[in-house]
């Protein structure tokens, strides 16, 4: 496209945005006309997106105190067990310290206003830099609300109180998390590996995991050649 045509299209788009479609429709060259129309459509879409995103930026300022369950129940936990939060409250999760997690969990299940009777998922995460994080997704069947609890520990001391006796499903969840990440769940009554054999070395979902060289005399080839 020549510079002249570009300039012409820019002018036409400007007019089109203002509501004047006449000049575009009056172009005789078909290719040029369709190019101008495409440019106009693009400009209109961009304007629409800009209009949609603008009010969203202003919204949080006038919002009332959040009724997000992670904010609401995080505050309740902080009131009941002062100093147990590990980070500021936010919309996605509640960050707790491992120390009195067992008491908090017991309270979360027994408190009538919360009544988290279902542990939907428990898993782990290796955040790198020596930090491992256990995550718990809790749901209440009676009140139909859910929260996510996260507890960060270090690799040197990956101890977290076990909630296996509070939510029985936690038995296998915690065993799998131990199997894959090497957390230690204090108070778990059957603290064994879940999937891998008992004599497996290392925890495979840690970032620094290294595949063992042999397993019971079976050589594990590390680098495969010829198939790349």
């Amino acid at each position: 496209m020549s510079a002249d045509q570009e300039k012409l299209i820019a002018e036409l788009v400007e007019k089109g945005l203002a509501g004047d479609m006449e000049p575009i429709n009056a172009i005789e060259d078909r290719v040029l006309r369709s190019k101008a129309k495409a440019a106009l459509a693009k400009a209109k879409r961009a304007a629409k997106v800009a209009a949609a995103s603008a009010p969203a930026e202003e919204k949080p300022a006038e919002e009332p105190p959040s009724d997000n369950p992670n904010q609401k129940f995080g505050k309740m936990i902080e009131d009941k067990f002062p100093g147990s939060l590990d980070a500021d409250l936010n919309d996605t999760h509640i960050q707790l310290k491992p120390d009195n997690w067992f008491d908090i969990a017991t309270w979360l299940k027994s408190e009538p206003a919360l009544h988290f009777d279902s542990l939907q998922c428990q898993t782990g995460m290796d955040l790198g830099e020596n930090i491992l994080e256990a995550r718990y997704n809790l749901h209440s069947m009676t009140h139909d609300h859910m929260i996510e609890i996260r507890i960060a520990v270090t690799r040197d001391k990956p101890n977290i109180p076990s909630i296996e006796q509070i939510w029985r499903i936690g038995d296998w969840f915690e065993r799998e998390t131990y199997d894959m990440f090497g957390f230690h769940f204090d108070g778990h009554r059957d603290h064994r590996r879940m999937l891998l054999p008992e004599d497996w070395e290392g925890y495979p979902l840690r970032k620094d995991y290294e595949v063992q060289e042999t397993y019971h005399g079976i050589i594990v080839p590390k680098v495969k050649q010829g198939w790349e």
Partner: protein, 163 residues
């Protein structure tokens, strides 16, 4: 057949015992019901009425002691590898192994990054026939089994092998 020919009644067949044993073995290789992953579904389909393995003289056995052929159908993990070996050792001679599908032949999709998968079942047991596919269609498995039958048919169990 030389000297023996036409000396007996019509319903008498004369054959070398050596060949006869090979023929008998090749037409009734009972296989070990041993599914490990998705390949097991194809193996079941092969055994079921549409493809019907029994017309080849094959029937599934649930015990390694009654089986002649072990079809390793599926991904063999490190944990399972020890058991595969143990089961193979419990089978009575003569015994054969078919590696069915990519996982059993080479590790398949876990070739490079599967820390827990045995890269081919031939690392722990000797394999007679490899059947490629992910998973192989029943026709492919039958092809493999026919190849195995050919192999058994050519065996001469009574002939002394030259060193």
């Amino acid at each position: 057949m030389g000297l023996l020919e036409n000396r007996f009644q019509d319903n008498v067949v004369v054959a070398k015992l050596d060949k006869l044993i090979g023929w008998a073995r090749s037409t009734s290789p009972w296989y070990f019901q041993f599914g490990l992953a998705c390949c097991a579904i194809e193996m079941m389909a092969t055994a079921a009425s549409r493809h019907d393995l029994e017309r080849l003289g094959m029937m599934p056995r649930s015990s390694p002691r009654q089986a002649d052929v072990m079809i390793v159908a599926g991904t063999v993990t490190m944990k399972m590898a020890l058991r595969v070996k143990k089961l193979y050792e419990q089978m009575a001679d003569p015994k054969y192994v078919i590696a069915m599908g990519s996982c059993a032949t080479s590790g398949g999709p876990y070739w490079q990054h599967g820390y827990h998968v045995l890269k081919g079942v031939d690392i722990v047991v000797p394999v007679d026939v490899y059947v490629p596919g992910c998973p192989p269609r029943p026709e492919a498995l039958i092809e493999g089994l026919l190849k195995l039958q050919e192999k058994i048919l050519e065996e001469r169990p009574l002939t002394r092998k030259m060193a």
